[in-house]
């Protein structure tokens, strides 16, 4: 009974995670602005990956669950940082281009 419940929970998490990843990927391809693409990428690299990793509870293996827990921690730390690095570069580049355009005008 418990194993069946875990399997159902894991399947639900997996479906939800993969659905979010698919929608995020669609958004990345569909959107043209770099900031909009970053939000879509954040959806894939954050909640979608975390849900897929949480689905490891269905495996019933401590080795897999603990490895997944470590990866979740790693993702929680690195995902906002990578998004920030790209956003900062895009923002500064955009500001420099607009300053150059103002100087030329």
């Amino acid at each position: 009974m418990g194993a069946t419940l875990l399997a159902v929970l894991a399947s639900g998490l997996l479906v939800l995670g993969l659905s979010l990843a698919t929608i995020g990927l669609y958004g990345m391809l569909r959107r043209r602005d770099v900031f909009h693409q970053l939000h879509a990428a954040g959806l894939v690299m954050g909640p979608a990956v975390i849900l897929v990793l949480l689905a490891s509870v269905g495996s019933g293996s401590w080795e897999i669950v603990t490895s997944a827990a470590l990866v979740v921690l790693f993702v929680l730390v690195t995902s906002p940082l990578s998004g920030h690095a790209i956003a900062q570069a895009a923002h500064r580049r955009r500001r420099r281009l607009s300053e150059d355009a103002d100087r030329r005008a």
Binding site: G24, L38, A40, P47, A69, L81, H91
Partner: protein
């Protein structure tokens, strides 16, 4: 003392997670290594004294974690709508830094960036603001007010 125990426990937990083992021998070795490393780190902290985290700080960390999880859920929904082409008003919002220290700004930035609908763009040192790109920037004042409220709640729980 609480800080020392927390550091030792955390290091032991990382050791066991890497080994993916809960065998008594591994727990003993992990605990020994964790305590030794935590003691070594404590010995090297002569440069400036640090306060041990109080129970209020731990409660504040729990509240911040719960708030961040809730924001991740709400933010995911907003980004799903953005990806699927629903009308929204993305844009940059400047949030005043307030009385946060540099470390607090770094933690605040990471926690804010956990929600996929908020990307931390920059910290403007001159104007003392955190620049954030939001999926829904239609009401910047509400965003500032939310961040201010969360910060004040954390401050109250920590007791500062």
């Amino acid at each position: 003392m609480i800080g020392f125990v927390l550091r030792a426990t955390g290091l032991t937990a990382v050791y066991l997670l890497v080994l993916t083992s809960l065998a008594p021998g591994d727990i003993l070795v992990g605990a020994a290594l964790g305590i030794a490393l935590a003691a070594a780190l404590r010995g090297g902290r002569h440069a400036r004294p640090r306060r041990a985290p109080s129970l209020g700080a731990l409660r504040a960390a729990g509240t911040m974690g719960a708030q961040t999880a809730a924001e991740m859920v709400r933010g995911s929904w907003r980004v799903v709508r953005l990806c699927l082409g629903a009308p929204c008003a993305p844009g940059l919002v400047e949030i005043p830094r307030g009385d946060r220290t540099r470390t607090e700004v770094a933690v605040w930035g990471v926690l804010t960036g956990e929600a996929p609908d908020e990307v931390v763009v920059d910290v403007d040192e001159e104007r003392d603001v955190l620049v954030v790109h939001l999926v829904d920037a239609s009401d910047p004042d509400a965003v500032r007010e939310r961040h201010r409220r969360n910060h004040e709640r954390t401050r109250r729980q920590v007791g500062r």
